[in-house]
Amino acid sequence: MPRRFLVALKFVVFPACLVPLGLLVYRGFTNALGPDPVATITHTTGFCTLYLLLISLAITPVRRLSKHLAWLIRFRRMLGLFAFFYCTLHLFTWIWLYSNFDVHIMLHDIGKRPFITMGMLGWTLMLPLAATSTAWSIRKLGGKRWLMLHRLAYFAAIAGVIHYWWIVKTGVRTPWKVTVVLAVLLLARMVWTAMDAARRRKVAVAV
Protein backbone atom coordinates (compact mmCIF):
# COMPACT_ATOMS: atom_id res chain seq x y z
CA MET A 1 0.00 0.00 0.00
CA PRO A 2 1.68 3.24 -1.11
CA ARG A 3 2.04 5.89 1.54
CA ARG A 4 0.22 8.45 -0.55
CA PHE A 5 -2.81 6.23 -0.76
CA LEU A 6 -2.79 5.65 3.00
CA VAL A 7 -2.74 9.38 3.69
CA ALA A 8 -5.62 9.90 1.26
CA LEU A 9 -7.59 7.12 2.92
CA LYS A 10 -7.04 8.69 6.31
CA PHE A 11 -8.52 11.89 4.96
CA VAL A 12 -11.62 9.89 4.09
CA VAL A 13 -11.92 7.79 7.24
CA PHE A 14 -11.45 10.69 9.65
CA PRO A 15 -14.42 12.75 8.39
CA ALA A 16 -16.44 9.54 7.97
CA CYS A 17 -16.11 8.92 11.71
CA LEU A 18 -17.46 12.41 12.33
CA VAL A 19 -20.55 11.88 10.17
CA PRO A 20 -22.76 10.51 12.99
CA LEU A 21 -21.92 13.50 15.19
CA GLY A 22 -22.43 15.88 12.26
CA LEU A 23 -25.85 14.35 11.61
CA LEU A 24 -26.79 14.71 15.27
CA VAL A 25 -25.80 18.37 15.29
CA TYR A 26 -27.58 19.02 12.01
CA ARG A 27 -30.73 17.26 13.19
CA GLY A 28 -30.47 19.17 16.46
CA PHE A 29 -30.47 22.50 14.66
CA THR A 30 -33.30 21.52 12.30
CA ASN A 31 -35.41 20.08 15.13
CA ALA A 32 -35.29 16.66 13.52
CA LEU A 33 -34.00 14.46 16.33
CA GLY A 34 -37.35 12.70 16.52
CA PRO A 35 -39.98 12.52 19.26
CA ASP A 36 -37.43 11.62 21.95
CA PRO A 37 -34.29 13.60 21.10
CA VAL A 38 -32.53 12.63 24.33
CA ALA A 39 -32.92 8.94 23.47
CA THR A 40 -31.78 9.60 19.88
CA ILE A 41 -28.59 11.27 21.13
CA THR A 42 -28.00 8.54 23.72
CA HIS A 43 -28.52 5.69 21.28
CA THR A 44 -26.47 7.25 18.47
CA THR A 45 -23.43 7.93 20.66
CA GLY A 46 -23.75 4.52 22.34
CA PHE A 47 -23.95 2.58 19.08
CA CYS A 48 -21.08 4.56 17.56
CA THR A 49 -18.92 3.65 20.56
CA LEU A 50 -19.70 -0.06 20.27
CA TYR A 51 -19.34 -0.25 16.49
CA LEU A 52 -16.06 1.71 16.38
CA LEU A 53 -14.65 -0.31 19.25
CA LEU A 54 -15.53 -3.58 17.53
CA ILE A 55 -14.11 -2.37 14.19
CA SER A 56 -10.88 -1.33 15.86
CA LEU A 57 -10.66 -4.72 17.58
CA ALA A 58 -11.34 -6.48 14.25
CA ILE A 59 -8.33 -4.87 12.59
CA THR A 60 -5.72 -7.10 14.22
CA PRO A 61 -7.33 -10.44 13.29
CA VAL A 62 -8.33 -9.24 9.81
CA ARG A 63 -4.85 -8.10 8.89
CA ARG A 64 -3.49 -11.49 9.88
CA LEU A 65 -5.59 -13.07 7.14
CA SER A 66 -3.22 -11.72 4.51
CA LYS A 67 0.04 -9.83 4.51
CA HIS A 68 -1.50 -7.47 1.94
CA LEU A 69 -3.78 -6.18 4.69
CA ALA A 70 -1.00 -5.23 7.07
CA TRP A 71 -1.56 -1.51 6.35
CA LEU A 72 -4.91 -1.69 8.19
CA ILE A 73 -3.01 -1.30 11.45
CA ARG A 74 -2.48 2.36 10.54
CA PHE A 75 -6.18 2.94 11.22
CA ARG A 76 -6.52 1.20 14.54
CA ARG A 77 -5.51 4.13 16.72
CA MET A 78 -7.79 6.57 14.90
CA LEU A 79 -10.79 4.25 15.20
CA GLY A 80 -10.05 3.49 18.85
CA LEU A 81 -9.80 7.17 19.66
CA PHE A 82 -13.07 7.86 17.88
CA ALA A 83 -14.68 5.06 19.92
CA PHE A 84 -13.46 6.82 23.06
CA PHE A 85 -14.68 10.16 21.68
CA TYR A 86 -18.23 8.83 21.16
CA CYS A 87 -18.10 7.04 24.52
CA THR A 88 -17.26 10.35 26.18
CA LEU A 89 -20.16 12.06 24.39
CA HIS A 90 -22.39 9.19 25.54
CA LEU A 91 -21.18 9.70 29.11
CA PHE A 92 -21.72 13.43 28.83
CA THR A 93 -25.31 12.85 27.62
CA TRP A 94 -25.95 11.01 30.85
CA ILE A 95 -24.18 13.64 32.97
CA TRP A 96 -26.11 16.49 31.36
CA LEU A 97 -29.46 15.34 30.00
CA TYR A 98 -30.21 12.54 32.44
CA SER A 99 -28.54 13.76 35.64
CA ASN A 100 -28.56 17.51 35.06
CA PHE A 101 -24.97 17.72 36.45
CA ASP A 102 -26.24 16.57 39.85
CA VAL A 103 -23.28 14.69 41.38
CA HIS A 104 -25.58 13.19 43.99
CA ILE A 105 -27.86 11.61 41.40
CA MET A 106 -24.85 10.34 39.42
CA LEU A 107 -23.13 8.69 42.36
CA HIS A 108 -26.42 7.16 43.44
CA ASP A 109 -27.00 5.77 39.94
CA ILE A 110 -23.48 4.38 39.59
CA GLY A 111 -23.87 2.60 42.91
CA LYS A 112 -27.38 1.34 42.37
CA ARG A 113 -27.86 0.66 38.68
CA PRO A 114 -25.76 -2.17 37.29
CA PHE A 115 -26.05 -1.01 33.68
CA ILE A 116 -24.68 2.40 34.62
CA THR A 117 -21.93 0.82 36.73
CA MET A 118 -20.98 -1.31 33.73
CA GLY A 119 -21.09 1.66 31.37
CA MET A 120 -18.85 3.68 33.68
CA LEU A 121 -16.47 0.74 33.90
CA GLY A 122 -16.30 0.56 30.11
CA TRP A 123 -15.45 4.25 29.79
CA THR A 124 -12.90 4.02 32.62
CA LEU A 125 -11.18 1.10 30.88
CA MET A 126 -10.87 3.13 27.69
CA LEU A 127 -9.46 6.18 29.43
CA PRO A 128 -5.87 4.87 29.90
CA LEU A 129 -5.92 3.56 26.32
CA ALA A 130 -6.78 6.98 24.96
CA ALA A 131 -4.19 8.56 27.25
CA THR A 132 -1.43 6.24 26.01
CA SER A 133 -2.28 6.37 22.33
CA THR A 134 0.78 8.38 21.29
CA ALA A 135 4.03 6.98 19.87
CA TRP A 136 5.77 8.62 22.83
CA SER A 137 3.71 6.49 25.24
CA ILE A 138 4.64 3.31 23.39
CA ARG A 139 8.34 4.21 23.67
CA LYS A 140 7.96 5.21 27.28
CA LEU A 141 6.02 2.10 28.33
CA GLY A 142 7.89 -0.31 26.11
CA GLY A 143 6.10 -2.21 23.36
CA LYS A 144 5.31 -5.25 25.43
CA ARG A 145 3.81 -3.42 28.38
CA TRP A 146 1.94 -1.10 26.05
CA LEU A 147 0.43 -4.11 24.25
CA MET A 148 -0.56 -5.68 27.57
CA LEU A 149 -2.25 -2.47 28.66
CA HIS A 150 -4.10 -2.17 25.37
CA ARG A 151 -5.66 -5.61 25.80
CA LEU A 152 -8.03 -3.60 28.04
CA ALA A 153 -9.81 -2.71 24.81
CA TYR A 154 -11.31 -6.22 24.84
CA PHE A 155 -12.57 -5.72 28.37
CA ALA A 156 -14.01 -2.34 27.47
CA ALA A 157 -15.91 -3.99 24.60
CA ILE A 158 -17.17 -6.75 26.91
CA ALA A 159 -18.33 -4.11 29.41
CA GLY A 160 -20.04 -2.23 26.56
CA VAL A 161 -21.95 -5.28 25.36
CA ILE A 162 -23.04 -6.22 28.90
CA HIS A 163 -24.10 -2.58 29.44
CA TYR A 164 -26.28 -2.90 26.33
CA TRP A 165 -27.88 -6.19 27.44
CA TRP A 166 -28.69 -4.74 30.85
CA ILE A 167 -30.59 -1.76 29.51
CA VAL A 168 -32.90 -3.57 27.08
CA LYS A 169 -36.10 -5.10 28.44
CA THR A 170 -36.45 -8.77 29.23
CA GLY A 171 -37.49 -10.57 26.08
CA VAL A 172 -35.71 -8.12 23.79
CA ARG A 173 -32.75 -9.64 21.97
CA THR A 174 -31.47 -6.76 19.83
CA PRO A 175 -27.92 -6.86 21.33
CA TRP A 176 -27.28 -10.35 19.90
CA LYS A 177 -25.52 -9.09 16.77
CA VAL A 178 -22.80 -7.13 18.57
CA THR A 179 -22.49 -10.03 21.00
CA VAL A 180 -21.78 -12.47 18.17
CA VAL A 181 -19.22 -10.11 16.59
CA LEU A 182 -17.43 -9.66 19.90
CA ALA A 183 -17.48 -13.42 20.57
CA VAL A 184 -15.95 -14.12 17.14
CA LEU A 185 -13.23 -11.53 17.77
CA LEU A 186 -12.39 -12.97 21.17
CA LEU A 187 -12.37 -16.48 19.75
CA ALA A 188 -10.09 -15.44 16.87
CA ARG A 189 -7.74 -13.89 19.38
CA MET A 190 -7.66 -17.06 21.48
CA VAL A 191 -7.21 -19.39 18.51
CA TRP A 192 -4.29 -17.44 17.18
CA THR A 193 -2.64 -17.11 20.60
CA ALA A 194 -2.84 -20.90 20.87
CA MET A 195 -1.44 -21.28 17.34
CA ASP A 196 1.43 -18.92 18.12
CA ALA A 197 2.23 -20.83 21.29
CA ALA A 198 2.27 -24.12 19.37
CA ARG A 199 4.58 -22.65 16.73
CA ARG A 200 6.93 -21.33 19.38
CA ARG A 201 7.12 -24.76 20.98
CA LYS A 202 7.97 -26.25 17.61
CA VAL A 203 10.71 -23.67 17.04
CA ALA A 204 12.05 -24.35 20.53
CA VAL A 205 12.20 -28.11 19.82
CA ALA A 206 13.93 -27.51 16.48
CA VAL A 207 16.57 -25.40 18.14
Partner: protein
Protein backbone atom coordinates in the same frame (compact mmCIF):
# COMPACT_ATOMS: atom_id res chain seq x y z
CA UNK B 1 -53.51 19.17 40.33
CA UNK B 2 -54.78 20.73 37.18
CA UNK B 3 -58.29 19.40 36.82
CA UNK B 4 -60.43 22.47 36.31
CA UNK B 5 -63.41 23.38 34.23
CA UNK B 6 -62.77 22.10 30.71
CA UNK B 7 -63.01 24.35 27.71
CA UNK B 8 -66.26 24.11 25.75
CA UNK B 9 -64.54 23.41 22.48
CA UNK B 10 -63.01 19.95 22.06
CA UNK B 11 -59.38 20.11 20.93
CA UNK B 12 -60.35 18.18 17.82
CA UNK B 13 -61.85 21.48 16.72
CA UNK B 14 -59.06 23.83 17.74
CA UNK B 15 -55.83 21.96 17.31
CA UNK B 16 -56.73 19.94 14.25
CA UNK B 17 -54.71 21.74 11.61
CA UNK B 18 -52.20 23.77 13.56
CA UNK B 19 -50.96 21.01 15.82
CA UNK B 20 -50.97 18.04 13.48
CA UNK B 21 -49.38 19.89 10.68
CA UNK B 22 -45.97 20.62 12.05
CA UNK B 23 -43.28 21.17 9.47
CA UNK B 24 -42.50 17.52 8.80
CA UNK B 25 -46.16 16.64 8.43
CA UNK B 26 -46.72 19.67 6.24
CA UNK B 27 -43.93 18.60 3.92
CA UNK B 28 -45.30 15.06 3.82
CA UNK B 29 -48.76 16.45 3.11
CA UNK B 30 -47.45 18.69 0.36
CA UNK B 31 -45.55 15.80 -1.17
CA UNK B 32 -48.63 13.59 -0.99
CA UNK B 33 -50.70 16.33 -2.61
CA UNK B 34 -48.20 16.66 -5.41
CA UNK B 35 -48.15 12.93 -5.93
CA UNK B 36 -51.94 12.81 -5.95
CA UNK B 37 -52.04 15.61 -8.48
CA UNK B 38 -49.90 13.48 -10.74
CA UNK B 39 -52.47 10.72 -10.37
CA UNK B 40 -50.24 8.65 -8.12
CA UNK B 41 -52.37 8.28 -5.00
CA UNK B 42 -51.04 4.79 -4.54
CA UNK B 43 -47.50 6.04 -4.31
CA UNK B 44 -48.39 8.57 -1.63
CA UNK B 45 -50.06 5.87 0.44
CA UNK B 46 -46.92 3.81 0.38
CA UNK B 47 -44.74 6.80 1.17
CA UNK B 48 -46.78 7.88 4.17
CA UNK B 49 -49.22 5.33 5.57
CA UNK B 50 -50.37 7.61 8.41
CA UNK B 51 -51.88 9.88 5.81
CA UNK B 52 -54.67 7.36 5.32
CA UNK B 53 -55.39 7.29 9.05
CA UNK B 54 -55.60 11.08 9.20
CA UNK B 55 -58.13 11.20 6.42
CA UNK B 56 -60.45 9.03 8.53
CA UNK B 57 -63.83 10.13 9.79
CA UNK B 58 -64.08 12.43 12.79
CA UNK B 59 -65.55 11.36 16.09
CA UNK B 60 -68.14 13.49 17.81
CA UNK B 61 -66.95 14.21 21.32
CA UNK B 62 -68.27 16.25 24.23
CA UNK B 63 -66.09 18.05 26.77
CA UNK B 64 -65.43 16.26 30.06
CA UNK B 65 -64.84 17.45 33.60
CA UNK B 66 -62.18 14.75 33.90
CA UNK B 67 -60.02 16.29 31.21
CA UNK B 68 -56.66 17.70 32.35
CA UNK B 69 -56.26 21.41 31.69
CA UNK B 70 -53.24 23.67 31.64
CA UNK B 71 -51.23 21.18 29.59
CA UNK B 72 -50.10 21.24 25.97
CA UNK B 73 -50.96 18.11 23.98
CA UNK B 74 -48.10 16.29 22.29
CA UNK B 75 -48.22 16.55 18.49
CA UNK B 76 -50.29 14.01 16.56
CA UNK B 77 -47.11 13.14 14.68
CA UNK B 78 -45.25 12.14 17.86
CA UNK B 79 -48.22 10.32 19.40
CA UNK B 80 -48.52 8.19 16.27
CA UNK B 81 -44.85 7.51 15.53
CA UNK B 82 -43.41 6.89 19.00
CA UNK B 83 -45.14 3.80 20.33
CA UNK B 84 -44.52 0.72 22.41
CA UNK B 85 -46.65 -1.99 20.84
CA UNK B 86 -44.48 -5.11 20.78
CA UNK B 87 -46.91 -7.04 18.60
CA UNK B 88 -45.59 -4.77 15.82
CA UNK B 89 -41.91 -4.60 16.75
CA UNK B 90 -39.79 -3.43 19.65
CA UNK B 91 -38.47 -0.13 18.26
CA UNK B 92 -40.53 2.98 18.97
CA UNK B 93 -40.91 3.66 15.25
CA UNK B 94 -41.90 0.06 14.40
CA UNK B 95 -45.64 0.13 15.20
CA UNK B 96 -46.27 3.13 12.89
CA UNK B 97 -44.58 1.18 10.10
CA UNK B 98 -46.06 -2.24 10.78
CA UNK B 99 -49.51 -1.82 12.31
CA UNK B 100 -51.21 -1.45 8.91
CA UNK B 101 -51.49 -5.26 9.01
CA UNK B 102 -54.03 -5.05 11.83
CA UNK B 103 -57.60 -5.73 10.67
CA UNK B 104 -59.87 -3.58 12.84
CA UNK B 105 -63.12 -4.34 11.10
CA UNK B 106 -65.01 -6.48 11.91
CA UNK B 107 -64.10 -6.30 15.60
CA UNK B 108 -65.82 -7.31 18.78
CA UNK B 109 -65.09 -7.71 22.48
CA UNK B 110 -65.95 -10.99 24.14
CA UNK B 111 -67.05 -10.63 27.76
CA UNK B 112 -66.80 -13.68 29.98
CA UNK B 113 -65.85 -14.96 33.43
CA UNK B 114 -67.95 -13.93 36.43
CA UNK B 115 -70.79 -12.24 34.57
CA UNK B 116 -74.52 -12.69 34.66
CA UNK B 117 -74.37 -13.79 31.05
CA UNK B 118 -71.56 -14.08 28.53
CA UNK B 119 -71.82 -11.41 25.86
CA UNK B 120 -70.10 -10.15 22.75
CA UNK B 121 -70.05 -6.44 21.99
CA UNK B 122 -69.64 -5.37 18.40
CA UNK B 123 -67.30 -2.40 17.99
CA UNK B 124 -69.97 -0.23 16.32
CA UNK B 125 -72.43 -0.84 19.15
CA UNK B 126 -69.68 -0.23 21.69
CA UNK B 127 -68.84 3.13 20.18
CA UNK B 128 -72.45 4.18 20.55
CA UNK B 129 -72.99 2.82 24.05
CA UNK B 130 -72.29 6.19 25.68
CA UNK B 131 -71.51 9.66 24.33
CA UNK B 132 -67.82 9.94 23.52
CA UNK B 133 -65.92 12.44 25.68
CA UNK B 134 -62.67 14.17 24.95
CA UNK B 135 -60.22 13.58 27.78
CA UNK B 136 -56.81 15.17 27.76
CA UNK B 137 -54.59 12.97 29.93
CA UNK B 138 -50.94 12.90 30.83
CA UNK B 139 -49.33 9.64 29.73
CA UNK B 140 -46.27 8.38 31.60
CA UNK B 141 -44.31 5.42 30.27
CA UNK B 142 -42.38 3.18 32.67
CA UNK B 143 -39.34 3.98 30.51
CA UNK B 144 -39.38 7.52 31.93
CA UNK B 145 -40.86 9.46 29.03
CA UNK B 146 -44.20 11.22 28.91
CA UNK B 147 -46.78 12.71 26.58
CA UNK B 148 -50.08 14.56 26.82
CA UNK B 149 -52.81 12.94 24.73
CA UNK B 150 -56.35 14.09 23.91
CA UNK B 151 -58.15 10.75 24.01
CA UNK B 152 -61.76 10.10 23.00
CA UNK B 153 -63.92 7.60 24.84
CA UNK B 154 -66.10 7.14 27.90
CA UNK B 155 -65.53 5.83 31.41
CA UNK B 156 -64.87 2.09 31.49
CA UNK B 157 -67.38 1.90 34.35
CA UNK B 158 -70.19 2.49 31.84
CA UNK B 159 -69.09 -0.52 29.85
CA UNK B 160 -68.63 -2.63 32.99
CA UNK B 161 -72.20 -1.85 34.03
CA UNK B 162 -73.36 -3.13 30.64
CA UNK B 163 -71.32 -6.33 31.22
CA UNK B 164 -73.25 -7.06 34.43
CA UNK B 165 -70.43 -8.65 36.45
CA UNK B 166 -71.31 -10.82 39.46
CA UNK B 167 -70.63 -9.50 42.94
CA UNK B 168 -67.77 -11.98 43.49
CA UNK B 169 -65.79 -10.51 40.56
CA UNK B 170 -62.84 -8.72 42.16
CA UNK B 171 -60.61 -8.15 39.16
CA UNK B 172 -61.04 -7.42 35.50
CA UNK B 173 -58.64 -8.76 32.88
CA UNK B 174 -58.06 -7.33 29.39
CA UNK B 175 -56.72 -9.50 26.59
CA UNK B 176 -55.30 -7.98 23.43
CA UNK B 177 -55.47 -9.46 19.96
CA UNK B 178 -53.10 -12.40 19.52
CA UNK B 179 -52.87 -13.06 15.80
CA UNK B 180 -49.36 -13.69 14.45
CA UNK B 181 -50.66 -13.27 10.89
CA UNK B 182 -51.47 -9.64 11.56
CA UNK B 183 -48.92 -9.18 14.34
CA UNK B 184 -45.86 -11.12 13.14
CA UNK B 185 -43.59 -9.89 15.96
CA UNK B 186 -45.55 -12.03 18.40
CA UNK B 187 -43.42 -14.93 17.16
CA UNK B 188 -40.09 -13.22 17.76
CA UNK B 189 -40.67 -11.29 20.99
CA UNK B 190 -40.23 -13.44 24.06
CA UNK B 191 -43.35 -12.52 26.07
CA UNK B 192 -46.37 -14.51 27.17
CA UNK B 193 -49.03 -13.78 24.55
CA UNK B 194 -51.79 -12.70 24.32
CA UNK B 195 -50.88 -9.43 25.99
CA UNK B 196 -52.79 -9.43 29.25
CA UNK B 197 -53.45 -6.63 31.68
CA UNK B 198 -55.65 -6.34 34.71
CA UNK B 199 -57.14 -4.03 37.30
CA UNK B 200 -58.79 -4.33 40.65
CA UNK B 201 -62.52 -3.76 40.27
CA UNK B 202 -62.46 -0.43 42.11
CA UNK B 203 -59.64 0.81 39.87
CA UNK B 204 -61.59 -0.24 36.80
CA UNK B 205 -64.71 1.55 38.09
CA UNK B 206 -62.86 4.81 38.79
CA UNK B 207 -64.27 7.46 36.43
CA UNK B 208 -60.77 8.34 35.17
CA UNK B 209 -60.38 4.86 33.66
CA UNK B 210 -61.24 5.41 30.03
CA UNK B 211 -62.51 2.97 27.44
CA UNK B 212 -60.85 4.62 24.49
CA UNK B 213 -61.76 4.71 20.81
CA UNK B 214 -59.94 7.73 19.50
CA UNK B 215 -57.39 10.49 19.89
CA UNK B 216 -57.29 14.02 18.53
CA UNK B 217 -60.97 13.63 17.66
CA UNK B 218 -60.51 10.74 15.27
CA UNK B 219 -60.58 6.94 15.54
CA UNK B 220 -57.49 5.43 17.14
CA UNK B 221 -54.65 4.96 14.68
CA UNK B 222 -53.71 1.28 14.54
CA UNK B 223 -50.33 1.82 16.20
CA UNK B 224 -52.12 3.43 19.18
CA UNK B 225 -54.28 0.38 19.87
CA UNK B 226 -57.18 0.50 17.42
CA UNK B 227 -60.04 0.02 17.52
CA UNK B 228 -60.51 -0.04 21.29
CA UNK B 229 -58.19 0.15 24.30
CA UNK B 230 -58.17 1.28 27.90
CA UNK B 231 -56.31 4.31 29.27
CA UNK B 232 -55.22 4.64 32.91
CA UNK B 233 -53.56 8.01 33.28
CA UNK B 234 -52.23 7.40 36.81
CA UNK B 235 -50.48 4.16 35.90
CA UNK B 236 -47.48 3.43 33.70
CA UNK B 237 -48.46 3.15 30.06
CA UNK B 238 -48.14 -0.63 29.75
CA UNK B 239 -51.17 -1.05 32.06
CA UNK B 240 -53.34 0.50 29.33
CA UNK B 241 -53.98 -2.54 27.14
CA UNK B 242 -54.40 -1.98 23.39
CA UNK B 243 -56.56 -3.61 20.70
CA UNK B 244 -58.71 -5.44 23.24
CA UNK B 245 -60.63 -8.53 22.12
CA UNK B 246 -61.67 -10.01 25.45
CA UNK B 247 -62.65 -8.75 28.89
CA UNK B 248 -62.83 -11.26 31.75
CA UNK B 249 -64.21 -10.73 35.22
CA UNK B 250 -62.33 -12.89 37.70
CA UNK B 251 -61.96 -13.61 41.41
CA UNK B 252 -58.17 -13.71 41.64
CA UNK B 253 -55.54 -11.29 40.44
CA UNK B 254 -55.05 -12.11 36.73
CA UNK B 255 -51.69 -12.63 35.04
CA UNK B 256 -50.28 -9.45 33.51
CA UNK B 257 -47.72 -9.67 30.72
CA UNK B 258 -44.86 -7.44 31.89
CA UNK B 259 -45.26 -8.54 35.48
CA UNK B 260 -44.85 -12.14 34.33
CA UNK B 261 -41.79 -11.23 32.32
CA UNK B 262 -39.95 -9.37 35.10
CA UNK B 263 -41.87 -9.26 38.41
CA UNK B 264 -39.15 -7.24 40.15
CA UNK B 265 -39.39 -4.51 37.51
CA UNK B 266 -43.10 -4.29 36.74
CA UNK B 267 -45.60 -4.66 39.56
CA UNK B 268 -49.28 -5.51 39.20
CA UNK B 269 -50.31 -2.01 40.28
CA UNK B 270 -47.62 -0.02 38.48
CA UNK B 271 -48.96 3.31 39.68
CA UNK B 272 -46.79 6.23 38.58
CA UNK B 273 -44.62 6.87 41.64
CA UNK B 274 -41.51 9.07 41.65
CA UNK B 275 -40.46 7.57 45.00
CA UNK B 276 -40.22 3.99 43.79
CA UNK B 277 -37.46 3.59 41.23
CA UNK B 278 -37.44 1.03 38.50
CA UNK B 279 -34.56 -1.32 39.43
CA UNK B 280 -32.64 -0.10 36.39
CA UNK B 281 -33.47 3.61 36.32
CA UNK B 282 -34.92 6.42 38.40
CA UNK B 283 -38.60 7.37 38.10
CA UNK B 284 -38.13 10.82 39.65
CA UNK B 285 -37.91 12.56 36.29
CA UNK B 286 -39.33 12.05 32.84
CA UNK B 287 -38.45 13.12 29.32
CA UNK B 288 -41.22 15.13 27.70
CA UNK B 289 -41.72 13.84 24.17
CA UNK B 290 -41.51 16.55 21.56
CA UNK B 291 -39.63 19.00 23.80
CA UNK B 292 -36.19 20.23 22.75
CA UNK B 293 -33.50 17.97 24.26
CA UNK B 294 -32.16 20.58 26.67
CA UNK B 295 -35.66 21.16 28.12
CA UNK B 296 -37.05 17.62 28.02
CA UNK B 297 -36.41 16.73 31.67
CA UNK B 298 -39.32 17.32 34.08
CA UNK B 299 -40.16 15.95 37.55
CA UNK B 300 -42.64 13.08 37.68
CA UNK B 301 -45.74 13.58 39.84
CA UNK B 302 -47.19 11.06 42.28
CA UNK B 303 -50.00 9.16 40.52
CA UNK B 304 -48.92 11.18 37.47
CA UNK B 305 -50.74 14.17 38.99
CA UNK B 306 -54.08 12.35 39.45
CA UNK B 307 -53.77 11.76 43.20
CA UNK B 308 -56.95 13.72 44.03
CA UNK B 309 -58.99 11.20 42.06
CA UNK B 310 -57.17 7.95 42.78
CA UNK B 311 -55.05 8.14 45.95
CA UNK B 312 -58.00 6.92 48.04
CA UNK B 313 -57.96 3.61 46.13
CA UNK B 314 -54.65 2.75 47.76
CA UNK B 315 -55.23 4.01 51.28
CA UNK B 316 -53.39 1.90 53.84
CA UNK B 317 -51.39 0.08 51.19
CA UNK B 318 -47.60 0.06 51.21
CA UNK B 319 -46.91 1.40 47.72
CA UNK B 320 -43.27 0.34 47.94
CA UNK B 321 -44.30 -3.28 48.30
CA UNK B 322 -47.31 -2.99 46.01
CA UNK B 323 -45.45 -1.08 43.31
Amino acid sequence: MLIRKPSDIPSSEITAQADYMDRRKFMAGAAALGAAALGAERLSNIASPQQAVQADTKLTTIPSKYSTTGVTPTSFQDITTYNNFYEFGTEKSDPARNAWRLQTSPWSIKVDGLVKQKKTFDIDALMKLRPMEERVYRHRCVEAWSMVIPWAGYSLSEFIKACEPLSNARYVQFLSLDNPKEEPWIKSVDLHWPYSEGLRMDEAMNPLTLLTFGLYGQPLPKQDGAPVRVVLPWKYGFKSAKSIVEVRFVKDQPRTTWNESAPNEYGFYSNVNPNVDHPRWSQKYERVIGAPFWKARQPTLMFNGYGDQVASLYQGMDLRKNF
